[in-house]
Symmetry: C2
Subunit: 385 residues, 2 copies
C-alpha cells in the first residue's frame, strides 16, 4: 500500500516508516524538522543525536533494503501538502505532524501560538489534500488519551450514549485536556469528525497514551536508526525523565502527590496498532476512534518500577516529590476502556523490569551526554493570573 | 465602564456600541472590515450601504452626543490587539470579531481557511491580551446555538451532568455543528474554557441563535446608523431572505422539508442581553454559559409568519420548497433551555406580525436595490466526496 507519513522524523514517525517499509508498503515520509527546531530553541535536544531524514533513509536502505521516500515540506503550507499528495498518491496517511509538547504549548505566547496554528492547519490541510487529491484515502490520525483528561466516569472509546431527561443520543465522549497542546488534539478530532459528516472522509483516530521504548525490530539494525530520546522537561515524558535521573544518580522527581494516572504503551505496540489499523480501514463517512494504551499506571507506580529496575543494575535510586508545575488532579479516578485494538489482534508488551532494564542500559551508554540542567521543570502553569 | 467591542462594524457590533455608549459606558470599537471585504469578494453586499466606522461614529456623536472611539485593526495580529488593550484599558470586552458566515466557511479552501484561522486566532489573541494587559477584564464572547447542533436530548445551558455506569461528572454540553464556521465557535468555547481553568479568566459565553431586526433605539436617530442588512445566501439569514423575497415578489425558498428549528431573537434582545451580562460579570475562573434566544421556530413557521405579515401589506407571498443545499436534519427534536438570561431580567420581543411588518416596510423602501441573483443558494455541502 502507498502510505504517506506526516511527521516522519519524529519519535514515532520514523520507526513507523521503517516498520511499514519492512512490511512491504511503499512509504513516503514528510517532515519540516519542526521538533528539532523547537528542541534547539528550547535547549532540549535529544540524548542521542539522529541523522537527518535523508541520511536515515539512506542508512535504512543500506542495512534493510527498502527505499523510504523523503519529502521535506511544511504541512501548514497547503501547496506543499498538495504536492506531496500528487507525488505519493497515498492510499493511507499516518498523521503525526504536530507540535507534541504540552509544556512548550504552555511556555509563552510564541509556544502557544505555534502549537495552535501548526497543529490545526496541518490537520486542516491534510483534510483538504484528501478531499481534492485522494478522497478514498484512509486518514490514520494520532490523537491522545490526554484529550479525555481525567473524568470521574469510565472513559469509553471515543463515543458515549447519553441518557438525559428520558431521551438519549450518541455523542463524542466529552473531552477536557490539561494543556493547550492536548486541546489542539481535541480540535483535530472535531475538525476531522466535521468533514467525515459533511464530505464522507474515512478516518481512524488513535487516542494514544504516553509511549516509551528505545528499540524496534528495525532500529536495532544500526544505531543511526534509533528513535529520538528526549529526557528534558519540554519533550521528555515522565518515563524518560526517570530513566535518565536513575542513570545520572539524580532523584526521580515526582510532581505533586504522584497519583496522576495515564495509559502507557511500548513503542513496539504503537507500531503494531498502526499496522492493524492500516489493515482494517474506516469506511467512507466513518470516524473510528480507538483508545491506544496497554496499561494504566500512576507516576508513583512508574517511579517504583524504575527504582526496582535500577536496583538490579546496581543503581541507587531515590524518589523525591516536587511541587507540581502543572495544573492537574494528583489523585483521581481513571478507568479507560481498551477493547478495539485488542479485538483487532494487539498483543501488548508491558513495562516490565526487563524492558526498563534494557532502556536503562541504552541510556547508561550515553551517560556522559546527559545534561542535568534540562531535566527539572522550566515551564509552570499551576498559578492563576 | 470601559468597554472594547471587537468586530464593532458588524450587524451586532455597531448597534451594541451605540447602545452601550448611550447608556454611559466608554466605548471603543475595533474592526478590520473583514465582513465588508468578504461581502465584496462574494458579491454579497448589504441591501443598504453603511458609512465606514469613523463616519458612523461621527454621525452618532452629532445626533446622540457620546463619543465612540474607533480603532481599525486586525485581531489576528497580536500586536494590534495588544495595542488596543493598552489604549483602551478595557474592563470588559465584547467579542464579535469572527467571520460569521456558515456558507462562506463551506464555499472553498479559501473560505474555510480564512474562517478557521481568523476566528481561532482572534479568540486566541484576545485571551493573551487579557492575560498580559487586563487579567481582570470580563470577556463576553458571542457563541452560537449552532454549536449544539440538533441533538435528540434537551439542550441545557452550556453544561450537562452525565451519569454513566454508576458514576457522574459535569461536562460542557456536547456540541456538533452544521458548518465549519459553527465548528470554529466550538473551538472558541473550548479555548476560553481551557484558559479559564488554567489562568482564571472571567468569561461569559452567549450561545446566541439567529438574530433579526432592522432598528434599535439608537439606529432610528439617523438612517446612516442602521444595522447592516444582508439578504444573500452568504451573510443573509433565513428571516432576511424571506423578507426580501416577499418584497421582491419572489417565492420564499424553504430548504428541504422546512422542519429545521432554531432559537431566534430580535436584535433589541441581543442588546438587552449584552447589557445584562455586562452588569453581571463572571467571576475569576468562571466560564458562564447562557443560551440567548427568545423563541424556537421552524423554517416553515417563519415562512408562514412572513407570508401573513406580507398579506397585511398587500404583498402576495408564495412559498416554494428547494432541494436543501446543506447537510442538516430537516425534521428533528429541538428543546433548548432558556433560563439564565430571563433570570437576569431579559424582557423578550417576539417575531410578531407587527415586527415583521415594520421590517417589510424598511426593506420595501429599498426595493429597487434588491439584486435577485444573490438570493438563491450558491454554496452546497449536501453531497459526499
Amino acid at each position: 500500500m502507498r502510505v504517506l507519513i506526516l511527521g516522519g522524523d519524529g519519535y514515532l514517525g520514523w520507526p513507523t516508516a521503517m516498520e511499514l517499509a519492512a512490511a512491504g508498503h511503499d512509504v513516503t515520509v514528510l517532515d519540516n524538522y519542526l521538533r528539532r527546531n523547537v528542541a534547539q530553541e528550547t535547549n532540549s535536544e535529544a540524548l542521542i543525536a539522529s541523522p537527518n531524514l535523508v541520511e536515515r533513509a539512506r542508512v535504512f536502505k543500506e542495512v534493510a533494503g527498502p527505499t523510504i521516500e523523503v519529502i521535506i515540506a511544511d504541512c501548514t503550507h497547503y501547496q506543499q501538502m498538495a504536492d506531496a499528495f500528487v507525488r505519493c498518491e497515498p492510499e493511507a496517511v499516518v498523521h503525526y505532524a504536530e507540535q507534541p509538547s504540552g509544556p512548550y504549548s504552555m511556555s509563552s505566547y510564541r509556544g502557544a501560538h505555534l502549537t495552535l496554528n501548526n497543529n490545526l492547519n496541518a490537520t486542516f490541510n491534510l483534510i483538504w489534500a484528501v478531499l481534492e487529491h485522494a478522497p478514498d484515502c484512509h486518514i490514520i490520525k494520532l490523537g491522545t488519551m490526554g484529550e479525555y483528561g481525567t473524568p470521574n466516569i469510565d472513559i469509553e472509546e471515543g463515543w458515549i450514549n447519553i441518557e438525559h431527561k428520558g431521551r438519549s443520543d450518541r455523542f463524542l465522549f466529552p473531552r477536557q485536556a490539561g494543556s493547550l497542546y492536548h486541546t489542539t488534539k481535541i480540535f483535530d478530532t472535531d475538525l476531522l469528525w466535521f468533514y467525515v459528516r459533511t464530505h464522507g472522509l474515512r478516518v481512524t483516530d488513535l487516542m494514544q497514551g504516553p509511549v516509551y521504548g528505545l528499540t524496534t525490530a528495525e532500529s536495532i539494525l544500526d544505531p543511526r536508526l534509533a528513535p529520538n530520546f528526549h529526557y528534558d522537561d519540554i519533550f521528555g515524558t515522565v518515563v524518560n525523565r526517570f530513566l535518565v535521573q536513575a542513570v545520572a544518580g539524580m532523584p526521580l522527581t515526582v510532581y505533586g502527590a504522584g497519583g496522576q494516572t495515564r495509559g502507557y504503551l511500548n513503542i513496539k505496540d504503537t507500531l503494531q496498532c498502526v499496522g492493524l489499523v492500516l489493515a482494517n480501514p474506516a469506511a467512507r463517512g466513518e470516524l473510528k476512534i480507538l483508545n491506544q494504551f496497554t496499561e494504566s499506571l500512576s507516576v508513583n507506580e512508574i517511579a517504583e518500577r524504575v527504582r526496582r529496575a535500577g536496583m538490579e543494575l546496581d543503581l541507587e535510586v531515590q524518589i523525591q516529590a516536587l511541587p507540581n508545575p502543572r495544573k492537574e488532579l494528583e489523585e483521581h479516578y481513571y478507568n479507560p476502556t481498551l477493547s478495539g485494538l485488542l479485538d483487532l489482534g494487539l498483543k501488548p508488551h508491558y513495562m516490565t523490569n526487563e524492558v526498563l532494564g534494557e532502556m536503562l542500559e541504552v541510556v547508561g551508554a550515553h551517560r556522559d551526554q546527559i545534561r542535568r540542567d534540562i531535566v527539572m521543570p522550566r515551564v509552570r502553569w499551576n498559578t492563576d493570573g
